[in-house]
């Protein structure tokens, strides 16, 4: 095991995140703040509470998940695509680094970036909405699982992409719509029955539902369902990303 190599890659990913801090760290924090003000505090004051908390407090965990999903996918997909595009990834490919170390390094780099963003939003929640997670263990566990899931998807799409625009396909046509209808803004119990049933087919719904439980202690489908679903999706995505890097897919000719 090349621990120094792995740590070097993680450091490199963090360095990259801080070099483009105005693109990748401040925007999700500021946009969440705006969501909280506009939807949570302004409009939310006219909405009666959901799951026993105010609408703004209900909204916050969904917003955290939204930024975690976006941040984790964006970090790994753009980083690995750029490294492929500039051939800088060859620095690692000719070095004694295994596929496992490369995938873990990229994923861990994404997890660290999203932890930073998620915790900044969590602190905003404490200061502005007086809400804190009720289960810190679950907060961390779901955060890690979801960050790993979307970082792995980022690696998969970052490897498949032929041009930078390809990376946005998953975000624009799948992630963003599914996040918005996946329970960020409302409980599925408030949706028409048909739409509520359709929501159960939305994989992102389970990530938000499981994470919200760490704040409100309540869930639409129950933690016993959402957590294993998230865990299974994460394991599958990580395994596919690992298999692609191990096979040298679009990395080694």
């Amino acid at each position: 095991m090349n621990f120094v190599g792995l740590w070097t890659l993680i450091k490199r990913e963090m360095k990259r995140s801080f070099q483009i801090i105005n693109q990748v760290i401040w925007p999700p924090i500021i946009s969440t703040l705006l969501y909280v003000f506009v939807f949570g505090l302004a409009l939310g004051s006219r909405i009666k509470g959901i799951q026993g908390v105010s609408y703004a407090q209900f909204l916050l965990p969904g917003l955290v998940m939204m930024q975690v999903i976006d941040g984790a996918y964006g970090e790994s997909s753009s980083s690995i695509f750029q490294a492929r595009f500039t051939y800088a990834i060859q620095e690692m490919l000719v070095a004694p680094m295994s596929a496992g170390e490369i995938v873990f390094g990229y994923v861990f780099g994404s997890v660290l970036r999203t932890f930073l963003i998620a915790n900044a939003i969590m602190v905003l929640g404490v200061l502005l909405l007086h809400t804190t997670p009720t289960s810190w263990g679950l907060y961390v566990a779901v955060l890690v699982l979801v960050a790993v899931l979307f970082a792995s998807l980022g690696i998969i799409f970052g490897l498949m992409a032929e041009k930078y625009d390809n990376i946005a396909v998953l975000t624009t046509f799948a992630i963003t719509p599914l996040v918005f209808v996946g329970g960020v803004f409302t409980s599925i119990h408030l949706l028409p029955p048909v739409v509520a049933h359709l929501s159960l087919l939305n994989p992102i719904f389970y990530t938000i539902d499981a994470f919200r439980y760490s704040y409100t202690g309540q869930s639409d489908v129950g933690l016993a369902i959402s957590l294993p679903v998230v865990g299974a999706m994460t394991a599958a995505a990580y395994a596919i990303a690992y298999a692609m890097v191990r096979a040298g897919y679009k990395l080694r000719t």
């Binding site: 090349n2 490199r12 360095k15 060859q90 620095e91 490919l93 000719v94 070095a95 080694r252 000719t253």
Partner: protein, 314 residues
């Protein structure tokens, strides 16, 4: 290197095959680079040089054959094999988020070396390659020559036994080319095994002790540079006469004299010993043929290359 198998060559390539779809880029080539050798890998563009290099360093998956580095199979003992090689690729592939000094530290890190273990070496490499003043600059701020030197410094940061350079002087000016040649000679004196691909034939002739010529994925020559010149090219001697001739003088027939088709004053000979030259001059004098000059043209690797591949290097 204590645990390296004894006597194994630095690089041994056995029946290497690499295909891209229906095209066979490398078609069963075998060769060995001995320890401490300065090996030149020549071939026209698309002949399979870079593909072979990529297979050795792990950037290309092979479809057949085996590659060993100091006796270690690059596909099974890849960690140990890769630690022994430093690659200076043709393309600049630096991490654009890192500064010059960081590029060296991070590359060492990928090879498992902690920053504190390589600080002295990084500083020495920056000094050696004239990059100390640019240590905190980003690559975009470097000149082409500096980027080329950084490529070499990065290849050396983990102190490899083998340095592989893919077209190291492509696109650089004459001054830098000579400077890089001197650096490569110094590395050779330090005991490194050096493998060089180039399409500058004179570069290979000036630097390399052994040469492999690859054409359409097949090795068409593999010899010492001297051996190649001896076996595939000949020095040529020209005697320039005061007056043109209609045909080569019959008394010089046993020296295989030819009349230059473009200049009837020139008689050309291959492999004429000094004794044979004096005899030829005496025979010409006896026949009253005045001689104005005698010139020898040394055979070059370019002649060998053209003879073996039937085309120029580019």
């Amino acid at each position: 290197m204590a645990d390296a198998p004894h006597q194994a060559p630095a690089i041994a390539v056995h029946h290497l095959v690499k295909r891209y779809g229906d095209a066979t880029a490398v078609n069963g080539i075998s060769f060995a680079v001995e320890r401490g050798d300065f090996f030149g890998f020549l071939g026209p563009n698309g002949a399979g040089k870079t593909t072979t290099i990529n297979a050795i360093v792990g950037l290309a998956r092979v479809d057949g054959g085996r590659i060993e580095v100091f006796g270690r199979d690059v596909s099974t003992a890849w960690r140990k094999a890769r630690r022994l090689i430093g690659l200076a690729p043709q393309e600049y592939n630096f991490d654009r988020y890192l500064r010059v000094r960081e590029i060296l530290f991070y590359q060492a890190g990928y090879y498992g070396l902690r920053p504190r273990d390589v600080t002295t070496r990084v500083d020495a490499l920056l000094e050696r390659f004239g990059l100390s003043a640019k240590a905190d600059a980003f690559v975009a701020q470097l000149s082409g020559g500096m980027k080329r030197r950084l490529t070499l410094a990065r290849a050396l940061v983990h102190d490899p036994q083998i340095v592989i350079l893919d077209e190291p002087t492509a696109g650089v000016d004459v001054e830098l080319r000579l400077e890089l040649w001197e650096t490569l000679r110094a590395l050779r004196r330090e005991g490194k095994t050096i493998v060089l691909t180039t399409h500058y034939i004179e570069e290979a002739e000036a630097l390399c002790e052994r040469i492999g010529i690859i054409e359409s994925g097949r090795m068409v020559a593999l010899e010492t540079t001297e051996g190649l010149l001896r076996s595939h090219a000949r020095d040529e001697l020209t005697i320039t006469l005061a007056h043109p001739l209609q045909a080569p003088p019959p008394m010089l027939a046993h020296f295989s004299a030819r009349l230059d088709p473009e200049n009837a004053c020139r008689l050309r000979f291959e492999r004429l010993s000094p004794l044979q030259l004096s005899e030829a001059l005496a025979l010409l004098g006896r026949e009253g043929i005045d001689v104005e000059a005698v010139n020898t043209e040394r055979a070059t690797l370019q002649d060998v290359f053209l003879a073996l591949t039937g085309r120029g290097a580019r």
